[in-house]
Symmetry: C2
Subunit: 127 residues, 2 copies
């Protein structure tokens, strides 16, 4: 093996340069792709899908969500923390209760749109 010979990757030989330029132009950077992937990560768990689906319908406190999902309170709190940390959901205190709601900002709206794209035939008139 003569290492003065560059490894002849297939890419060098057959991507049309103009075509490659088009692909690169639309290709998100690592940071952009990571940000985008993070949004999807928030929705990549069935518990969080259900939580966000519920919160898209109405504000709810933690124990209501735990009750409706038949899940442990810490498990629900855990997921809510994940969604809080990236500002997908927010909360307000009300007596002993903590009422959670979908953020009324860009990320909240994006989540709403994504759920709408993926939910169809579930009879919701709005989201």
């Amino acid at each position: 093996m003569n290492d003065s010979v560059p490894t002849p990757l297939c890419g060098e030989s057959h991507i049309d340069p103009q075509h490659e330029e088009q692909i690169r132009a639309r290709l998100p950077s690592e940071d952009e792709a990571a940000d985008i992937a993070a949004v999807f990560t928030h929705l990549s768990d069935s518990t969080r899908v259900k939580l966000l689906s519920m919160l898209a319908t109405s504000d709810l406190c933690v124990c209501e969500m735990a009750d409706l999902l038949s899940m442990s309170q810490p498990a629900v709190s855990h997921h809510l923390r994940i969604l809080r940390q990236c500002d997908v959901v927010r909360f307000r205190k009300s007596g002993q209760r903590t009422m959670y709601y979908l953020s009324d900002n860009e990320i909240g709206n994006t989540i709403r749109q994504l759920l709408q794209v993926v939910m169809s035939g579930k009879g919701q008139t709005d989201v």
Copy 2:
């Protein structure tokens, strides 16, 4: 502690029954939520976001993708297998090459829509 007393969960006392019915009506089942979450799982990794973004622009072979992303070929093949297994992408053989493309079915279209929702300001005229 007298265990004949049922735990008085907050949900019993203050959810408006009609309200609860509305929430439950829109709440996906565990299976539905799992299916929905699975779609988002496919997009929850920055490498797969980039792969799908590229494939939304044009069909590509494995080594082109590895080359464009400066990633190892097995790593790219690994992600393509994940996307193949759920029919998000498909492939056709062409000589030594394996050309991958976004599936032209419901899941493929859903992925296209989801990427479109989440990508904005990246200068793509179509997806």
